[in-house]
């Protein structure tokens, strides 16, 4: 399958930063259309800087990024690139612009100059997709964190992007809000074929990903399926990361000498593996 996003040997340094410390240091990765991809990495590893490159908010100092074949440095393509890749950030309160939910979702299609009927159609469709249609006439500031974040996602969906980048969208949410957001983005990916790029510190959110990338010092240091990436517990710990608690449990049991396969990820797989090992 053709990748929707290609990051080719990208270097980037913020203005005023130490010339020796680049935020991105030769990052290379491909993301295929329709996949659910998770990017992990400690604070300062370059994840968010990379995210801002994916729709041209930041431009590389060196190397290039192709979005559906379009180079983000090509100004004539910028609008098309931003329609292809939408972004959702950590704090939902900073992303709300209107005082009514549906107006907020309509903001982008209005800016793109679509006719009113088209806007109505897209807004309703987007709100239904994130399961917030019943709240369309509510005021955003009265919603819960998870609901606000879903409205922010709807605002991006209204542009009908093929790819959505979410930078720690659950960091400020309670467990229920986290489930709502993660379930929503998985559904968008599985049922509607939208490519999802999720940046997160919650290892448990990576369990269902198609592919996981681990970043450190502005580079991809490890990539693979969640099973592959999480099976190397020591390498992740060396990067200042952890593994999902299920993996940690099995890792410690193995260290203690229990003969147990290390591929389990979900609660069910873990329980089954332990049960088998004890038989």
């Amino acid at each position: 399958m053709k990748p929707i996003i290609q990051v080719k040997d990208v270097y980037f340094r913020y203005e005023g930063d130490d010339p020796l410390s680049s935020a991105l240091n030769g990052t290379t990765l491909d993301i295929e259309q329709g996949r659910f991809v998770v990017i992990l990495g400690h604070n300062g590893s370059g994840k968010s800087t990379l995210a801002k490159h994916l729709n041209g908010i930041l431009l590389p100092d060196k190397g290039c990024i192709l979005v559906d074949g379009m180079d983000t440095r090509d100004e004539t393509k910028l609008l098309e690139i931003r329609r292809t890749v939408g972004m959702v950030f950590q704090n939902p309160d900073n992303q709300m612009v209107a005082s009514v939910v549906e107006d907020d979702v309509a903001f982008a299609p209005e800016n793109l100059g679509y006719p009113p009927e088209e806007i109505r159609l897209r807004v309703d469709e987007a709100l239904k997709l994130v399961d917030m249609y019943d709240y369309r006439l509510h005021s955003p500031h009265l919603l819960s964190g998870g609901q606000k974040q879903r409205v922010a996602i709807a605002g991006v969906i209204a542009m009908r992007p093929r790819c959505i980048v979410l930078d720690e969208p659950t960091a400020m949410l309670d467990p229920a809000g986290r489930h709502e957001v993660i379930d929503t983005i998985k559904r968008l990916c599985r049922e509607h074929g939208i490519t999802i790029i999720l940046i997160t510190h919650h290892m448990n959110e990576a369990i269902d990903a198609d592919r996981v990338f681990v970043m450190s010092n502005g580079k991809v240091v490890s990539e693979g399926t969640p099973k592959e990436v999480f099976s190397n517990v020591e390498a992740l710990k060396a990067e200042g990361l952890t593994v999902p608690d299920s993996v940690e449990l099995i890792y410690q049991l193995r260290l203690a000498g229990l003969d147990i396969p290390k591929e389990a990820l979900t609660v069910e797989e873990t329980a089954q593996a332990i049960a088998t090992a004890l038989k």
């Binding site: 604070n43 309670d174 510190h201 952890t242 049991l253 609660v267 873990t270 332990i274 049960a275």
Partner: protein, 287 residues
């Protein structure tokens, strides 16, 4: 005498206006000196409103809050004194740094307590030590620091007042796993070294499970559950109905029980479940 005692504590925002909303209703809680309490609840359950009552930032619209037996509502002067006893670290405290050097920022609290210069200096160094802020960065501007370092400086600023009650509202939100772990460890060290009461508000059931010895669950402005982690996390279904969760380890343990593996009723940390499983293996017990 409990350090903190609330009697029928009620707080209604915008009371008497059309926007009136009940944030807390009839909260009766006693917390003793030296407890490590985890406060959990969905967004809007009243946790943050509650903790703001603990040093009089908010005053009850009904009921009372007693701190070491003193009613916070009784006089402004007492309230001022109590603010130094109860240190409050808000969410994203790094946004509250405002001085031009790290040292000045950490010393802001002690300076307000009108301590001597030597005493202030001692406290700044002690607090910085607790949270791992190296003295080399004392003269740096807080703005030059990384997010994790900023947060440490902000927490040090509260610890420098040597509060006997330390309240932290989501101290690890947005930090990477290593940052979370080390900040929680620092808080735990402070708790052990000083015997201070710690009240930790968190959405992470795993963190709460690892550090707190008592959990209080807020639901819609009520303190709906109060007990040991075992007692609370054994009620997984109830927690899920109110939008919370149990640690993944607890889920694995209950699934193991269904598979007829005799692990204890409620395991909520990795080390607990690990030793339970290993002891089964040692005994060679049939499963």
């Amino acid at each position: 005498m409990p350090t903190i005692k609330t009697q029928a504590l009620t707080h209604i925002y915008s009371q008497g206006s059309p926007f009136e909303s009940i944030a807390l209703e009839n909260i009766n809680i006693e917390i003793s000196q030296g407890e490590f309490v985890g406060l959990i609840g969905h967004t809007g359950s009243g946790k943050s409103t509650f903790v703001q009552h603990l040093n009089g930032l908010l005053l009850p619209t009904g009921g009372r809050v007693l701190l070491d037996g003193v009613d916070l509502n009784s006089s402004k002067k007492l309230r001022h004194e109590m603010r130094f006893k109860v240190g409050l670290v808000f969410q994203y405290p790094e946004y509250q740094l405002f001085e031009d050097t790290v040292y000045k920022d950490i010393s802001f609290g002690p300076r307000n307590m009108k301590l001597s210069k030597a005493e202030i200096d001692e406290r700044v160094r002690e607090a910085a030590g607790f949270v791992g802020v190296p003295e080399e960065i004392f003269e740096k501007s807080p703005l030059e620091l990384s997010g994790g370092q900023k947060r440490r400086v902000a927490i040090a600023g509260v610890i420098a007042m040597r509060p006997s009650v330390l309240v932290l509202d989501e101290p690890t939100a947005g930090l990477d796993p290593e940052g979370c772990e080390s900040i929680l460890k620092n808080i735990c060290d402070y708790h052990e070294a000083t015997g201070a009461t710690v009240i930790l508000v968190s959405h992470s059931m795993e963190d709460i499970a690892r550090y707190a010895s008592r959990l209080i669950v807020f639901v819609d402005g009520h303190a709906a559950m109060d007990g040991s982690p075992e007692e609370i996390f054994s009620q997984a279904d109830r927690l899920r109905t109110i939008g919370l969760d149990v640690p993944v380890v607890t889920d694995i343990a209950s699934r193991l029980k269904q598979l007829n593996i005799d692990v204890p009723d409620c395991c909520y940390t990795i080390s607990q479940l690990k030793s339970a499983i290993l002891s089964l293996k040692k005994e060679g017990a049939p499963c």
